[in-house]
Structures are given as C-alpha cells and as structure tokens.
C-alpha cells in the first residue's frame, strides 16, 4: 500500500513538469501584451517597450523556459507577478484556504443533498419519489450558480437581512456562496448515485441483508450504498479538483479572494508568472486530490485495497 502511493507520488513529478512546459509554451505563443495592461491606455510605446524590457518578455523562448523550469523545480519558486510584484507562491497560499473552504463547503452540501436524493430516486425507481428527485436534480444542473447566487443574495441579504451579501468572515459569510456553489454538484451526484444504486440495489447481498432482518433504511444505507460509492467518489474527486480553479464567478460575486479569480485576472492581463504558477499549483493540488480519491477507494472497497497491496490473498 505504502509502496503504491510512493510510486504515485513519484509519478507526479513528470506530470507537473509536463504541465509546466505545456502551460509555458501555450502562454508564450498566446498573443497579448502584459505591459499594456500594467501601464494602461495613456502609456506611450516608449514606456511600454521600457516595461517589456524590465519584465523580460522580449527574451527568446528557450531562455525563458529554462529559467522558469529552474526556478520552479530547483528553487521551488513560482516567480513574481508582473503587475503586483508579489510572490505567486505567497499569493496562492494566501488564497487557497478561501477556495478550499468554498469548495469543501459546496461539495459537502452537494453530497449531503445529492446522495439522499439519488438514493431516494433509486429506491423509488420510476415512481413519484424518483421523478421528483430527478426533477430537482435537473433544476439544479440547469440553474447557473451566479443566477442562484443573486437570487439568494436578494432573498437572504436584501429582503430578510439574515445573511451578509458578501465578504469574508465567520460561518455565516460562507452559507450563501456554498449554497450557490452546490447546485451543480447536487445534480450530478444525485444522478450518479441513482444509477450506481440501481445497479447495486438488485444485488444478491442486498437480498441477503434483507433476509437477515436488517431494517430497510440500514439495508439501503448500510449495505447497498457502500457498494455504490466508488463511482460517486470518483465524481466528487473530479468535481473537487475542478472547483479548485473554477469557483471564479462565486468568488467575484461574494468578494472572496480565491485562486480562481486570481488566475482569471492573470490570464487576461497576461501575467505569465501567475498563470504558470497557478496552473502548476493546481496541477499539484489536482494530483493530490486524485491520490486522495484512490486512498478513499481503498478505505471503501477492500478489493481495491488488495489490488494496491499486490494480490495478497485471493
């Protein structure tokens, strides 16, 4: 088991290296001028050229690539932002907790609602409960998170004055962002849960559990659900990885300084060090996330654990 994960960890090095090179190359060939963004419309060409020289964006591809890779892999330094002159690593570390919190809270709500919804749908296949659950899921997936966010703000902040409309602070500041962020997840988790539960629920061991006199609730949640979890965990894992960089809209609406808004601003202002650093950082996070998913597999399904351990037993 340990050996397996060590191997996976080592594999992350070429992955991150590949991501770094691809990102760098793509950005190098993307047209656009960081100097214009920094100096604004009033800048003259002389001033722009002066700044490009200082930033080093005029140097040839290979020189910049080698320097960049050296910084990242030998000095563990993701560089300094062109526009704000701040350390990319520092900024990402400052912002990551916000994004993580938003992501985890959103996903937690998604799972807490999506899972029972999917189970209800599967247990009542083709009956009212199924239809209502799937309708709710459809509603969730077709409701854009920013739109829901605005509706929630108007209801809970403007009309009812229950919750703050934006900002970063205690628990109550996270309720609306997490709710808005959870809808898409609710929908896909509910659908995934439904289909994998439908497969499991017909299994013999579920009948065995019933024949043992296990209460129906326990049959579903204690016996069937753990067997249906693998594809759901995969889904949650991917969603988690995607949300790390994709909560931009919610970050903007709710004024949360997160990784998503940082990266998007950087892309549009051609702040190369930030974009490269951010993508490499996210790649690492995503790899860890997938590793976590694999570890959870092993916790949930002993057969997978046996595979990791290399076919011990039968």
């Amino acid at each position: 088991m340990f050996k397996y994960f060590l191997k996976r960890l080592l594999w992350m090095i070429p992955i991150v290296l590949g991501v770094a090179i691809i990102t760098f190359t793509l950005l190098y060939f993307t047209p656009g001028d960081p100097a214009y963004i920094i100096l604004g419309s009033n800048a003259t060409e002389v001033e722009l050229e002066n700044l490009r020289e200082t930033l080093g964006v005029n140097q040839p591809y290979l020189v910049r690539l080698v320097k960049y890779l050296g910084d990242v892999f030998l000095r563990f330094d993701l560089g300094t932002s062109y526009s704000t002159k701040t350390s990319v690593t520092g900024e990402l570390i400052y912002r990551l907790p916000n994004t993580l919190l938003l992501t985890i809270a959103s996903l937690a709500i998604s799972v807490l609602i999506g899972l029972p919804l999917g189970v209800t749908a599967a247990v009542n296949q083709n009956r009212l409960g199924d239809r209502v659950s799937m309708l709710l899921a459809l509603l969730g997936v077709s409701m854009p998170s920013f739109w829901l966010a605005m509706l929630l703000v108007i209801l809970f902040a403007v009309k009812l004055h229950w919750l703050p409309a934006m900002g970063v602070g205690g628990l109550k500041y996270w309720i609306l962002p997490a709710l808005s962020g959870s809808t898409g997840g609710i929908a896909s988790i509910a659908r995934q849960t439904r289909s994998s539960m439908l497969e499991v629920i017909r299994s013999d061991y579920v009948t065995t559990a019933r024949a043992k006199g296990v209460k129906e609730r326990n049959v579903i949640y204690g016996h069937a659900l753990p067997n249906a979890l693998i594809p759901i965990i995969t889904l949650v894992g991917t969603q988690f990885g995607m949300m790390l960089g994709g909560t931009l809209i919610l970050e903007n609406i709710f004024g949360i300084p997160g990784v998503g808004s940082y990266l998007t601003t950087a892309v549009s202002s051609r702040d190369y060090p930030v974009v490269q650093g951010g993508v490499v950082f996210l790649a690492i996070c995503f790899s860890f996330c997938m590793l976590m998913v694999d570890m959870i597999y092993a916790l949930v399904d002993p057969r997978i654990k046996a595979q990791y351990e290399g076919k011990k037993g039968k």
């Binding site: 003259t44 605005m150 549009s268």
Partner: protein, 557 residues
Amino acid sequence: MTNLSRRDFLKVMGLGTVGLVGALALAGCGDGASKTGTNTGSDSANTGSSENTATGKTVENVVNEIPTTSQDSITFGASAAITTLQPYLGVGLVPTLITYGVYETLFAFGEDNTTLEPRLAKGVQTDDNLTYDVEIYDNIYDSNGNHITADDVVFSFHAYKESGVGLAKTESIEKTGDYSVRIVVVDNAIGTWDDTVRKTAIVSEKEYNASEDGFSTAPVGTGMYAVTEFKPGISLTVTKRDDYWQADESKRAFLASANMDELTQMVIAEASQLAVALQTGAIDLASIPQAVADPFMGNSDYAFFPLTAPLGLQVYFSGDAHSPVADNQKLRQAILYAIDVDAIITVAYDGYGERQYTFGPSAASDFQEKWRNEDYYNYDVDKAKALLEEAGYKPGELHLQILSIGAIDAWSKACQVMQQNLSAIGIDLEILNYEAALYGSYMNDGQYYDMLINNVTQNYLVTAWNAKLGAQNFGGKTCTSIDDPKLQELLKGCLFEENHTPENVDAFHSYLKEQAYAYGLCAPQNFTFAKKEVGMVEPYYDYIGGMYLPCCKYAGK
C-alpha cells in the same frame, strides 16, 4: 400514479417546474418591477438644474439635503481588486487611499487638479523647465519615525524607474544637499514635470529595504494616514495619524487633507453586489454603474453625486497604407459625420454622458469653451453621404474594421452604434472585439485595423494629444501610424511651457479636427451614492475622476 398516466404526470411536473422557476425569477425581479416608478421619482427629485441638452441627459448640481453631522469613519465599496500596496506599480492596482493618503510625493495637484502644489517639497527653482532644483522640508518623518532626506528622494526615484513601470521622463536625479536634489527631465513638454514629481512616492530607503515584500502588505509612508488593517483581496482600512510631520496646517498640501478619521475600502467586484452592499448597509458609499442605480435615484436616504468623468471615448483612424481611410481625409470626415454621438451616449452609457468637443476631456484645464459652439462633426447623414461620394466611394463598396475590447461593455456598445451609423451610408464596419491584452499588443500599430476605439485621461489636452499622437512616442508616427509632419509641428508648437498658449492649442485642435485623424466621442457620467449619515457636503474627485474621500468635505468638519 394509477389514475394518472405517465405522460400526464410528466406534464404536471413540467408545469410545476415552470412555476417554480418563475417564482424564483419573480423573487429576483422584485426590484426591477418598480423601475419606471423610481425613475420618475428621481427625475423630479433632480430638477435642481438638470440640463437636457443635445449632450444627453446629464444630471448636474443635484441639491442634496444638507446634513448637519457626519460619521467619523466611512466604509465604501469599489470593484477594483486590492492585492498589494506597493508604491511603484502600474495604473489602478493600488487604491488612492494609499497613493495619496499613505504615500506622499514631492508635489501634488491642488484642489483644481491642475496647479502643482509643493507637498514634501518646500520650493523649486528652474531656469529652463528642464533642470529643477528641489528643496524638501527638513522635518519629514514617516509613520515609523524614519527621517526623510535627499538620499531617500534619490532612492525613491531610482526604485520607481527600475520597476519598469515608472514613466521614463526623468533624465537624472542627484543629491545636492541633505534636503535638496536636482532633477533633470527629458523635455519641457506640458505635463512632463508634473508627472515626474507627482507620481513618484517618496519612501524611506531603510524602511523599504527592510520590508520583506516591498511594502506589499505593510506600507510605511509619510502621509496623513497609516494602514491599520489590510486583508488582501477583501478590504483595506486606513486611519488618520495624529503625528503627521507637517504640524503647520497652513503649509499642508490640499491632497494631504484628512477630513475623515477612518476609511475602509471593500473589494466588491460585481456591480450588482455593490448596489446590494449599499442597500443592506454593509457599505456607506459607492460609485454605482447607471444600470443598477435605480434603487438609489431620488431615494432620500442617499445623497447623490454625479460626475462627468474626465475620461471618455475617442475614435482613431489608421494611418497605415493598407487602409482606405489612411490617405482620404474626405472619407474620414464622412465617417465622423455619420456617427451619432448622442446615440452612443444613450446606448453605451444609458443616456448619462456628455459629448466631447475636441480630442480629450472637456474638463481639461486647457479646454476652450468656444469649441462647444463649433461644428465638431455634428451628426449629419446627408453631409456624410456627400463626403463619401467626394471621397470616391459608392455605398456598399467599403469594408472597414474597428478594434475594440470586448470585455468593456461601453466600448462594444459604442462600436455597435457606429456599425449601424456607418451602414446607413453604405459602409460595412466589422468590430474586432479583442480582450484587453491582445488589444494592447495591436493598438499601437495601424496595420491591424482601420479604426480604433480608446480612451485617454489627462488633465491637460496637450498631454493627451502628445500621449497618443506625439511622434517621439511611436517611432515617428502617431499611435495609429499616421505620418504627418505638420501635425507634429503643431503639437510641438503648443506642448511646451513657453508655447502653451490658447492660440497654439486652438491651432492644433483645428488642424486635428480638419484632418479628422482622431475624434473625441463622449464621456460617461459616474454616479456616487452616499448614505445620508455619512454627512458628505462636497465631494472631491481627483484628476482622473476618482472620488478621494479624505479631501471631500463633511458636515461639522
């Protein structure tokens, strides 16, 4: 389920969905429904002296109820991100609370945004407007007690220049005494000296070098305010210092005013959230885009401060040989006559804006009132058609491209209006909606477009003209590759201290107008709303139209 067939059931559920979504949508539109009503209210409330001229429905001199008391602290919202507080960065990255309030410069604009006032400087001597001998006060201390001397001034100028962001207008700077420096600037154009001494924040060399992140999170300046709390990306709070080095209030620069004890700027990127924050009381004051201003218009709980921004839209023609507009004055004139500026104001700025009468803001100090009465290509389709024919083109023959930034809503809308205007005289205008960085790499080269939309902000028209049209800035041509020696000659004939006379300025204006190389379209009106309790009596806007709260006047202060 037995009586209800499957199809019926789905139908019922479908209706339910529509109902649910509809209900939610209604909840969301609750505010919008009363739009018309509120608008009417606001119109009658703003009758003060609101002018409805050909320039659109600008709202001016609104009579706010005069408050009698004011708060000691203000929390306001702005869409700009605050990630760093460093002194030497590009435009718009650091809020003015820091650049004006925490850092100080040798000189600063006075209340009129034009006159240069000494701030850290005590006095200045120059014979040729190129070499300046500046003396600074000998009792300047920053908020950490560091004594500021000529060495720090020299260090600060170098740091700014080395950042690559610093405007390349300082030729050299040297220390001539403990409290005096000699600064040589590259030319004596209007604005060169201003820019040099007005934008370079003077900080303590020792303190700056000791800072691990270049004052990114904990800036130390000599100004009236010090940072008391900074949450990057969320909020910034500054508090008035009681140990400001300039004890003699009569000698303080206008920009060193500190009429409010504590100010907090919150980052609120979304326009609608800005309105929500103001409504819920999370913030006291905000500049609100016209589109979401309705709940506050004519609302007696809020004081209303409109401002026609000194930044507006301009349209340029390419001078590159590939373009049909390059060597065809009549064609350029035809196009300008075809553009309906009032329609642009209506569409791009919701009707709240003012047309321009020359290439640059009407608020600039060297703007001439008589231009308002000139025919500045006032919308005239017949004239446009006639000129097009004179230019040698038939309707339907021309296909032109205009370069714009898609993300800037007002620019895109202005381009769409122009597209419609030009199709009326038979010219097909294609809009190249690029993103900002891409736009930036094409905008200074006329071969990529026929027309260009842009804005420029300066306190002098001649500075704006020079920034966009001055040949020394773009390798011998204008920013859109127009090569016209006479234009350059006339520009040089009004740009410098010795020849910046109304006659010379008018001469350039007239020539540029006649040649129709570039054209000032309009400037938007910005709305700032403040809760009544804030007690603001008179706002102050800096030279680019940003409200700077420490210099505003408050009731009882």
